[in-house]
């Protein structure tokens, strides 16, 4: 955006290669993660968890644990639950209360029952082994479809059903379009329960001060409204907690909503009068941390014509959210905002079913449900192509929304702001290159392997807001989803930006300093960005839904522009000129008519801070401005039939993948991976690319390796990294990213969000590649993960007895 006042065309700092400011501390081992913060007198928590998927707690005997020297407490739900407010679901189901500790009933294997507190973590674990709990097991259910039956064991009897949320949306003339279409096909795909599994587990330390009545909290947190919910649950006033957002968080990608961990530790800190820390070990994290992800069955019907035009879609998404609900039911709601993907599908019927089972609860995962939905849509596109004998790329071209059709209104009420999907697809195909992949595929097949090319074209909605809250719960009328920035220029003329939420690898300090540098036309490396705490922070809604480039970037720009205008006013005033007669140049204010007349940055700062007599009348002394703003397009409630503008900005990605399968083992090799990506103007290209590589890596894991698998008894079978397989540098191939830019008309610099990049289209492309390979054997695999065993069984299905997928 050219700025008349500075006479700069284009961007000076935005969009350029720049070393992230965060790097310096991490490569030196000087990061400050939650576990690195050790207040004096710190006590440690270990957890006793339920071994049963469903049971009544008959008795708990903590006497032997408490007798161990150095043990300070052994807390049960009987004490904790009456003393705090429950955590409630995001949908209207107040009967489904959730507490950090079980009381009377356990609902999943891994649910926390007793919290032991001791001088050291090792001692706490010793003591936890001395706790005696007698259980009486009760019937459990671990299959989502079985749980939907009225006769199924009830996870929360008070609710009267295991279905915590169900709604059928119909947007447009679905029945008519199906009747009029030449063909239709139905399919089922299953997205396995996986999650982003950060390398750092969840950690929370709380310290309570009796004199100030303030609870200090250091946590590896990524969660909207965390301080407010902490205060509420602990029955403290809003200004009775202080969350320190300057803690470095070791990855989250959605999941680190450790409210139950933090409420537990907060309570203990207040009870014991000493700082208390709970540092999840990996076993606690996998099973009882409640950070598992979407676990979905999609039943989809597509109505289409002979030329490939897709007329209508019916989709039912059943999501197994486990034994308790936080925001998890809402994860079925966000995809409403991109329910047709990048296609011109005229009508949609969407049924969202959120089901509870006796398994670990689900939490928000990168994309908040969009990645599974994209997998379901893209699988269908390829099935339609196969049905009609069309190339998958050609079929996509028939249906892609064209670049001149924006803003494009989809049937569920969202406008896509801008895009050029065909060009991104073309760029990805060219980079691959597609003809080379076709040749290579033939070579691989000739060598006795199965081989396939997979393409995906997927939306990446960004600028996350909570429009799915009122959509799924009419009693919740939240339409504000703001963010903010405070910018100050100090007495010594240095610039500092203040942000009001946590960071988990997204390089927010780099983002804000780049933006401020751009607006002030000052070197970004001279600008410091700090994290406030929740008492002195301006409002923020956290880095979720790929929103920070838009919202924090926009807020930083907003504050800087006000400050810059103030500098111009101050300079003009001191030059005895009107604002229009001066120019802002690199921090100086210069007379347009006579450039030798200028007020330097340093001189302006001195006047603002020290020379009140030189300020224009009515001007506030000092140089500090805040900017708080609402998400673009936000502020409206859904219609009665559930149409809503979900997110404001729409990034887009197109993946092109070549895979081979060894028929002997079912093992998959990725030979070529290209991702075309468009997130509008990139403020920090290195950061955006990093997100995209990382998202693709999450996608490869979800597609080929990762699953929180459960036995019939509700036991987690993949609770360590020996069973829950995270991809290493050997499983992730070299990846090529090609960029495209369709700026958003809604943002300061044309930027869109991209924190979920790569993940949203990756699984779809890999699945399509594998199914392209399997098509030669007249078979397909429609569930995840596509492990060697799963692929081998698919190839050899006629030879094997039937068994559950």
């Amino acid at each position: 955006m050219a700025d008349a006042m500075t006479d700069n065309g284009g961007f000076k700092y935005i969009g350029k290669h720049r070393r992230a400011v965060e790097h310096r501390r991490f490569v030196s081992g000087q990061g400050r993660f939650a576990a690195d913060i050790v207040p004096l007198g710190l006590l440690h928590v270990a957890i006793v968890a339920s071994p049963h998927a469903s049971a009544r707690i008959v008795s708990i005997d903590t006497s032997k644990a408490l007798a161990l020297p150095g043990v300070h407490a052994a807390l049960t739900g009987d004490e904790l639950c009456p003393a705090i407010e429950p955590m409630l679901p995001g949908v209207d189901a107040m009967q489904v209360k959730r507490y950090p500790l079980a009381r009377g009933i356990v609902r999943y294997a891994g649910e926390w029952v007793v919290a032991v507190v001791a001088e050291t973590r090792a001692l706490a674990e010793d003591a936890s082994e001395l706790v005696d709990i007698v259980y009486e097991t009760t019937p459990h259910v671990v299959d989502a479809e079985a749980a939907m039956a009225e006769s199924a064991p009830q996870v929360h009897p008070a609710l009267g059903s295991n279905v915590i949320y169900r709604r059928q949306f119909v947007w447009g003339a679905v029945d008519e379009h199906f009747a009029a279409a030449a063909h239709h096909l139905e399919y089922r795909v299953r997205w396995a329960r996986s999650a982003t599994v950060p390398i750092e587990t969840f950690v929370v330390t709380c310290a309570w001060n009796d004199a100030t009545r303030l609870l200090d909290i250091w946590a590896s947190i990524q969660m909207p409204k965390f301080p407010d919910l902490m205060a509420k649950c602990l029955r403290l006033p809003g200004n009775g907690v202080r969350v320190h957002f300057d803690v470095d968080v070791g990855g989250s990608y959605g999941v680190k909503r450790g409210l139950k961990h933090s409420v537990l530790v907060g309570y203990l800190a207040m009870k014991l009068g000493r700082p208390v820390r709970f540092l999840e070990d990996r076993l606690e994290n996998m099973r009882g941390g409640d950070m598992q992800g979407p676990d979905r069955i999609f039943d989809v019907s597509l109505a289409f014509d002979g030329d490939g035009t897709i007329r209508s879609m019916r989709m039912r998404a059943i999501d197994d959210i486990g034994a308790y609900a936080g925001r998890s039911p809402l994860q079925l709601g966000k995809p409403v905002g991109a329910i047709v993907g990048p296609y011109r599908i005229a009508s949609v019927a969407y049924e969202a079913v959120s089901v509870m089972t006796n398994k670990t609860p689900q939490e928000a995962v990168r994309g908040f449900g969009q990645a599974p939905t994209n997998y379901a849509i893209e699988s269908g596109i390829d099935k339609v192509a196969r049905f009609l004998g069309l190339e998958p790329v050609a079929l996509r071209r028939v249906n892609l929304i064209g670049k001149d059709e924006f803003p494009y209104l989809i049937p569920s009420g969202t406008h896509y702001d801008s895009g050029d999907y065909a060009t991104v697809l073309d760029k990805a195909l060219a980079a691959a290159s597609h003809p080379e992949l076709v040749a290579k595929r033939a070579e691989l097949r000739a060598a006795g392997l199965l081989a396939g090319i997979g393409v995906s074209t997927c939306l990446e909605p960004s600028g996350g807001n909570s429009a799915f809250e009122p959509l799924f719960n009419p009693k919740n009328q939240t339409t504000t989803w703001m963010d903010s920035c405070l910018v100050r220029i100090d007495l010594n003329a240095a610039v500092t930006g203040v942000m009001g939420t946590s960071t988990s690898g997204q390089a927010h300090e780099t983002l804000v300093s780049t933006v401020l540098g751009e607006i002030f036309d000052r070197e970004p490396d001279s600008i410091r960005v700090v994290h406030a705490d929740s008492l002195n922070a301006l409002p923020s809604n956290s880095p979720v839904g790929s929103r920070m480039a838009i919202m924090l970037g926009g807020a930083a720009a907003g504050a800087a522009k006000i400050l810059r205008a103030k500098l111009v006013r101050l300079g003009a005033h001191n030059l005895q000129l009107d604002d229009a007669e001066v120019r802002y140049e690199g921090g100086d204010v210069v007379s347009r008519a006579d450039p030798s007349r200028r007020m330097t940055w340093d001189a302006l700062v001195e006047i603002a801070h020290r020379h009140y007599h030189k300020l224009p009348p009515g001007m506030e002394p000092g140089l500090q401005e805040k900017f708080v703003w609402e998400v673009p397009t936000g502020g409206s409630l859904p219609t009665a039939d559930g149409r809503i503008q979900m997110y404001p900005c729409h990034s887009f990605e197109s993946h092109v993948v070549l895979t081979s399968i060894d028929p002997q083992t079912g093992g998959v090799t990725i030979h070529r991976y290209v991702c075309g990506h468009d997130c509008g103007v990139m403020i920090s290209p290195d950061v955006v690319h990093g997100m995209t590589y990382g998202g693709i890596s999450h996608g490869i894991g979800a597609a080929l390796l990762e699953k929180f698998a459960y036995s019939e008894d509700g036991q987690l079978l993949s609770g360590t990294f020996m069973d829950y397989l995270l991809p290493s540098a050997q499983e992730i191939p070299p990846i090529t990213i090609v960029d495209h830019c369709t700026p958003s008309p809604l943002t300061e610099f044309g930027q869109k969000g991209s924190g979920e990049a790569g993940y949203l289209g990756s699984v779809a492309a890999i699945a399509n590649a594998i199914n392209d390979a399997l098509a030669a054997h007249n078979t397909s695999i429609d569930f995840l993960p596509m492990t060697p065993q799963a692929i081998w069984r698919t190839l050899n299905a006629t030879a094997l007895p039937k068994e559950n997928a």
Binding site: R19, A20, E22, H23, R24, R25, F26, V27, S28, G29, Q30, G31, F33, A35, D36, L68, P69, A122, T196, V197, P198, I199, E200, T201, D248, V249, G250, G251, Y253, D281, R282, N492, A493, S504, G505, Q506, A507, D602, E606, R610, D686, V687, H689, G690, M691, Y693, G694, G695, I696, S697, H698, T720, F721, L726, S728, A729, Q730, I732, P734, G758
Partner: protein, 183 residues
């Protein structure tokens, strides 16, 4: 009933360090809790993720799977000891900054240990060698691409560290207020 403590002496980053630890204290907990060297991180405590990697007598090992007492009398290098001197960065550390080879920073310490060990033995590794060397260090942020790029870049002949040494400026600008005293 507290277990008897054992005094261990381990050379860490070139300095002899000593502490009294329980026999069951892992090397990583000794480094982090006894010595306050929190740059080494814990991710799984069962030897898979590699976040706890340190150099033991020059070789990368999982410090979560080793007891401090087992390292008695040996030499350990942690991420804090990889730079040539305080305030400067090694070529690999610098290259990591250049290619954006990290995001959250949590796996980075272990990743750097693995990369330094690789480059010590293989000064100009190819892609396969790099991926093999970091194959035991899991990262959930980066997808490894920019890490591989960093090692390739940092091992190019003539690569110079670009990060400024951190030094205190002789006279910071703008602190002198003409014609006024401080305050």
């Amino acid at each position: 009933m507290a277990p008897a403590l054992i005094t261990v002496e381990i050379t860490v980053n070139g300095k002899l360090r000593s502490a009294a630890v329980e026999p069951r204290t892992t090397l990583v907990d000794f480094l982090r809790d006894s010595l306050g060297l929190t740059g080494t991180h814990v991710g799984c405590e069962h030897g898979i993720c590699g976040a706890c990697s340190v150099l033991l007598e020059g070789d990368p090992i999982r410090s979560c799977c080793m007891f401090a007492v087992q390292a008695d009398g040996m030499a350990v290098t942690t991420v804090e000891g990889l730079a040539p001197e305080r305030g400067r960065l090694s070529k690999i550390q610098d290259a990591f900054c250049e290619t954006h080879a990290l995001q959250c920073g949590y796996c980075t310490s272990g990743m750097l240990i693995a990369c330094h060990a690789l480059v010590e033995h293989t000064p100009q590794p190819d892609e396969a060698q790099i991926r093999d060397a970091i194959g035991g260090n899991l990262c959930r942020c980066t997808g490894y691409q920019q890490i591989v790029d960093a090692v390739k870049l940092g091992t190019q002949p003539g690569y110079t560290v670009r990060a400024d040494p951190v030094k205190r400026a002789a006279t910071p600008e703008n602190t002198v207020v003409p014609g006024a005293s401080n305050g």
